[in-house]
């Protein structure tokens, strides 16, 4: 996947129209693409905050579909950017920046990216997006639970919820993986997502 990564534009648009010349880092086509993808992820996570959840921490995690597709299309670096931008900008959108909920999604996103960084070396002929999605969902839940256990609820009682939480991770991980697979298929209804 890394060789599919497009090289940064050699003559980047310096962003004169909005940023002026004092802007140090030029805005590249790469940045625009990342911003577009992150915007989709942010929109999905914003939609999700409107859904009622039986337990804090149990959410479909639809934005991870975007992360997964970006990982396949553009590699881990871009997936990390999209995921990070989604966590930060998504929390600004809902006013939860630096709140416990933000810490949970940040730790979950970090853990899930670490797991994906390892899981992308699984042989492609045997392990598809569903595998990566489920692995990422379990890692996401584990990352959240580490923060919950060490900081928010420093008590062994949360063990009682583990089967429910990981069951939800399994369910939604599978679901998101199937959606990502459908979206990337060559003969998807509206053509493959790029």
């Amino acid at each position: 996947m890394s060789n599919a990564h497009p090289q940064p534009d050699p003559s980047p648009n310096l962003g004169e129209e909005s940023c002026g010349k004092e802007m140090i880092a030029p805005v590249t086509a790469d940045d625009h693409r990342l911003a577009r993808l992150a915007a989709i992820a942010i929109a999905l996570s914003a939609v999700e905050t409107a859904l009622p959840s039986p337990l804090p921490g149990v959410k479909p995690g639809l934005a991870n579909i975007v992360t997964l597709i970006v990982l396949y299309r553009f590699g881990l670096r871009d997936a990390a950017w999209v995921s990070g931008l989604r966590v930060v900008a998504g929390s600004l959108l809902t006013g939860s920046f630096l709140s416990p909920g933000f810490m949970l999604s940040a730790s979950g996103a970090c853990a899930s990216l670490l797991a994906l960084a390892a899981a992308r070396y699984l042989p492609r002929t045997q392990f598809g997006p569903v595998s990566l999605s489920v692995i990422a969902a379990f890692a996401h839940m584990s990352g959240q639970l580490v923060v919950v256990r060490l900081w928010l609820i420093p008590h062994a009682g949360i063990a009682y919820l583990l089967p429910v939480l990981y069951g939800a991770a399994l369910l939604f991980g599978t679901m998101n993986g199937l959606i990502a697979m459908r979206l990337m298929m060559r003969n998807a209804p509206h053509g493959p997502v790029t």
């Binding site: 569903v130 009682g157 009682y160 493959p192």
Partner: protein, 125 residues
Amino acid sequence: VNRFPQRNLLPGDALVLAVCSTLVAWLAVVNWGKDAGDTLIVHSGDNPVRELPLSRDTIEGVAGPLGITRVQIEQRRARVLSDPGPRQYCVRQGWISRPGESAICLPNQVSIEVGGVRGFDSLNY
């Protein structure tokens, strides 16, 4: 470049799903399975008056200021079968079976509590 001709799950996906399902099932067994109660402690007033094994089905009467409260044990569960109190909260509470669970008939000063090795209870801790 589309690398996704596949429309179904791959063998590795099935493996990942199987491993993760097993993990969830194992977590359920480990965290939910073991803390079933083994005794029922019955109080009348301040004093424990009976300690009954949950393994033996029985119906016992316990005397209180208002009359007899009847306690039933069946299939390792316990409940207050009948109570002379006016509001019947302890009767309507139904079956209890986990260590630490209790039903209290306040007017008649009778209470039952399941005893046994209990796991942590995050709500009451």
